[in-house]
Symmetry: C2
């Protein structure tokens, strides 16, 4: 259930979600290009349904179910965007969505999940509490678990954005995504290298949740990191299979401080004119932190989400 998807599964996912998902635009900024010394092609997944790329994976999972499975609904645990995405995806098939949310999640995101029609189940903000509550809902309802990142269907769905991006911005040399649990980074890596093995792949990770960078450096999965970052979308530990994909596809993970990310977020707001959430800004922060890796190259930059509480901006 959490094996890495093949490229064929990514292509199948693209066909499956096409009636429901948006083809998001690719945006440019002359000012940001000048600042980076590179050609940046921003894939605007914050303009995806539900305001984040997560709809792709959730939608693929929901429409992969048999009618019999679907009738029992879906369940997940998510601090925000995946929960919202699963609720919206379930609504496209008219089935129930149960979302386990940890205390302390962003209020605006919880409200969006409820508006999308999901049933919320609150729990303590620990991995153990989330999983226990999920298991309880599964027992009670028979709902299918759709894990936020350690799920083949979810990874395949996230990878579909690459099919669009490489067509919208031909001739890219490199791609960069944020790294949280690794669902996006792994799906993107698999699809990207299937289409163009010469692409350089990068990930951006908050210093305060740098378990993927540590895991790649040590050659073994580090699970002792206690996340301490303003990037609420990137606090999850990278999944085991997800980490395998990062390793196999030589994804170089660049770590950035929260201050660097917040400065990059301001740039995305003022120069690209896009309301993106803080986790999305790690990618620009990484490019500006290590410009020599990107200098003169054509870089696809994935903006992951735009669900922001305007009353709680980080500056």
């Amino acid at each position: 259930m959490n094996a890495l998807p093949s490229f064929e599964q990514v292509r199948d996912a693209a066909a499956r979600i096409a009636p429901h998902a948006r083809v998001t635009p690719v945006l440019r900024s002359a000012a940001l290009d000048a600042l980076a010394g590179a050609e940046l092609h921003f894939k605007a997944e914050h303009l995806q349904r539900g305001g984040a790329f997560k709809f792709r994976g959730a939608c693929n999972a929901v429409w992969s179910l048999s009618d019999e499975q679907a009738a029992r609904g879906v369940v997940t645990h998510s601090s925000g965007n995946h929960g919202n995405a699963l609720a919206l995806a379930a609504a496209t098939r008219g089935i129930a969505a149960h979302v386990v949310v940890p205390e302390g999640a962003v209020r605006a995101k919880l409200e969006a999940i409820e508006r999308a029609g999901a049933i919320l189940h609150r729990c303590a903000p620990t991995q153990a509490a989330r999983e226990a509550m999920c298991a309880e809902v599964q027992r009670a309802t028979g709902a299918e678990l759709v894990h936020p990142y350690a799920d083949t269907r979810v990874m395949a769905g996230q990878g579909t954005l690459v099919l669009e991006l490489l067509q919208q911005a031909p001739g890219l040399d490199a791609l960069i995504t944020p790294v949280g649990g690794g669902g996006l980074a792994s799906g993107v890596a698999i699809a990207a290298h299937a289409m163009n093995p010469a692409l350089s792949l990068f990930g951006a990770e908050p210093l305060g949740a740098d378990d993927a960078a540590q895991s790649l450096a040590h050659g073994t999965r580090v699970t002792t990191v206690v996340p301490d970052t303003v990037c609420d979308g990137l606090r999850a530990l990278v999944g085991e299979r997800n980490l395998d994909a990062l390793r196999t596809h030589h994804v170089e993970v660049i770590t950035v401080s929260d201050a660097e990310t917040i400065a990059a977020m301001r740039l995305l707001w003022t120069e690209l004119k896009q309301v993106v959430e803080v986790s999305s800004a790690t990618v620009l922060a990484a490019i500006l932190k290590q410009p020599q890796r990107f200098a003169g190259r054509r870089v696809g930059v994935v903006l992951t989400g735009g669900n922001v509480d305007l009353q709680a901006l980080p500056w």
Copy 2:
């Protein structure tokens, strides 16, 4: 020099600016459609070069000049986006741009004008002082005046966005733009009705600068309004020819309070995920204020600019 442009002049302008201007995307939001009870197609001119539609008109004016005229440079008076646009347009031709700026203009906009390479000339914030300073620069340099809205080349340039929009969003029933000096509204009206005479045309104007609405109601140009609105881009009095175009093309002007505009701005930030300036939000405010005029229709909505000071948000 300030006669209304023909549709042919709009088409010529489109060809003239094509090497320099961006084809801006059209954005959608399911949440805003639901709120409005209409299908809203947002033409994202805040993603135009310089962060506003103004680049279209300025670029057309600059590239309409003979080599001899161009060598003496261009001059304008502008509280912000037009000045910036003229500076950027002049740079595409390698000529000098002089920009007369009134005291009290938005700091972020002035900085952008200087970054674009223009020579700033400061004056008192009155129409008379602006015009006097402009005349002085013209005498001293021989520069060509490019008025922000009462200029045929500028109006034709602004109208070019309609050529894109009607192709990007086929089957529109109505269009709405903000109304300040009327350069945008008049250019759009001329191009729109040349392409589809059945289109309903609307303008959105701040209550505190409602000279166009008053002028249309009284059948004569009202010049006594003292602007009092947070919409810094819409404080100019509507031009005489511009008003003629609004009248001829039956543009219905809807007035909105600053509070309504600020609420709409928040919606554009949170739902459409776009950093637009407050003047841009008048259009959504107008639609939400008079929903019966738009119910069930396919509406083209022009978002005019995105040059915002994040330290001085109006909420």
